[in-house]
Amino acid sequence: MGMTMVDDFLVRALLAGCAVAVVAGPLGAFVVWRRMAYFGATLSHAALLGIALGLLAGIHVMLGVMAVSIVVALLMGVRHWRQNNDMLSEDTLLGILAHGSLALGLVVVAFLDDVRFDLNAYLFGDILAVTSSDLYWLYGGGAGVALILIYIWRPLLSATVHEELSIVEGVPVHTLRLVYMLVLAGVVALAMKVVGVLLVTSLLIIPAAAARPLSSTPEQMGVLASVCGCLSVTGGLWGSANYDTPSGPSIVVAALVLFMVARLIAGIRRSA
């Protein structure tokens, strides 16, 4: 056992995990800057409904997840565009969407009696079962997300810093927010395979948070978040292979360790 077991499935898992981590890094930085962690969590909870509907309709689950995520993104986008004309806060609405769709997903799953359905694999990820065709999805989707993110980086950063100032300066803020939410939905769908719907948000925010004390520009933080994400995937898979721990949670634990190390380094630097 141990390090000699560099099997195909482990290589595929590493490739899959890093593909997701590279795009989740800078996108997660925006989640942190814009304080949208709960939105990310809502997307990931809603993903289970997408999986269930995908299986029910007999299409690829990732398409089902994308469809549901897009609906959630559009709902929240429309709410924001209407400028808080709602009696309920965004926080409350996200909570309702998150848990409502998770519950609905679990109920729909109960109707799928003839389908072999491993709930745990979806909830906590099944990166060791990644197939070659999954890899095509991940790299194609990841490349698409990366290209869009590079294209919108500058105006999105401006809108993140001050929305109204950006509007006056001619930045299409509402369109950008919608594109950003849709891209985020795409990454949630991709990351689901790696860490599962319950832990997707962690892959977005923990590497970005770990990168923060080590960065002095937004771009540095985005790149470092990608690096932290890849290190977490590698560390988590190594731990999973060596100690026979579940792969998804192991990746998140590795990210957590990185985060704490970064905080420690920052603390030592500040007091020095």
Binding site: V32, W33, R34, R35, R154, L157, S158, T160, V161, H162, E164, L165, S166, I167, V168, E169, A208, A209, R212, S215, S216, T217, P218, Q220, M221
Partner: protein, 268 residues
């Protein structure tokens, strides 16, 4: 509608309400090239709403906003609330207001110098003081080489001597660049001296005109109290009449119930 050649922006007959509460009724404001216009009024008078409508950030229920073609607006918002998790220094912050091509380092440094804060160029933006931040925001507005500078409460969080300096700077910028300036303020003292035209708002336009004339207007006196109005009127002693607390004109020979002026007392 025909306009003067130096016309920049005009809002006419603006009505606006939020959740059934009327905020503006028949609001009017216009700014010409080289002119400093200040909107004053108590809290909730609709000053900021008026500015947001003129900037195009809000659609009014009724009324029109006309801008001269290709109007370049430099906007200095009331506050900036950047999450501490975003690592960004002042120079980088300034570059966000420019298109990719003009983001030259020299331009940004020059704008910081003009605003008097070139020493914070490399500081993280979350760590500079309130007064420095206002000037950095002003520098960002200036970088766009604006025809119209819009400033929402520009001296907020700035100490008294800093306020006078900042108003002086805004004047200097106007003299130097010849741009129009639209300001929102509720601190009357300094703004009156730094303004060409005052619009006093309290849901509707109470009165408008040269600061000296506005400070004598019965509606203005009613809104801000006689002592404040009198204090602002220090620099003109040629009263031909006085107002009582309700804004009614009273003649000089009824001086017996005239309040003593409370000089040096700060309004607010």
């Amino acid at each position: 509608m025909s306009q003067l050649p130096n016309f920049l922006i005009q809002a006419s007959a603006i009505d606006m309400s939020f959740g059934g509460r009327k905020v503006l009724s028949h609001g009017e404001a216009k700014v010409a090239k080289g002119e400093i216009v200040t909107l004053i009024g108590p809290n909730g008078a609709g000053k900021t709403t008026m500015v947001r409508i003129m900037l195009g950030l809000q659609m009014p229920d009724k009324g029109t906003v006309i801008r001269c073609p290709d109007l370049r607006v430099g906007y200095m918002p009331q506050r900036l609330n950047i999450d501490p998790s975003l690592p960004i220094d002042v120079l980088r912050f300034l570059s966000l207001g420019l298109s990719r091509g003009d983001a030259g380092h020299g331009l940004r440094s020059a704008a910081l110098k003009e605003a008097g804060v070139d020493h914070v160029a490399h500081s993280p933006i979350q760590q500079i003081s309130g007064g420095e931040l206002q000037r950095v925001l002003l520098a960002r507005a200036l970088l766009r080489n604006p025809d119209l500078l819009v400033l929402d409460e520009p001296v907020q969080g700035v100490d008294v001597s800093g306020q006078a300096e900042l108003y002086g700077l805004i004047r200097k910028i106007r003299d130097h660049r010849g741009c129009g300036v639209l300001m929102v303020s509720h601190d009357l003292h300094m703004v009156m001296a730094a303004t060409d035209h005052v619009i006093c708002l309290n849901q509707h336009v109470c009165c408008a005109g040269h600061p000296e004339i506005v400070s004598r207007d019965p509606e203005f006196v009613a809104l801000f109290g006689e002592s404040v109005a009198a204090e602002l009127g220090i620099y003109h002693h040629d009263h031909d009449h006085e107002h009582d607390v309700h804004g009614d004109v009273i003649s000089h020979n009824h001086d017996d119930h005239h309040h003593s002026h409370d000089h040096g007392h700060d309004h607010g």
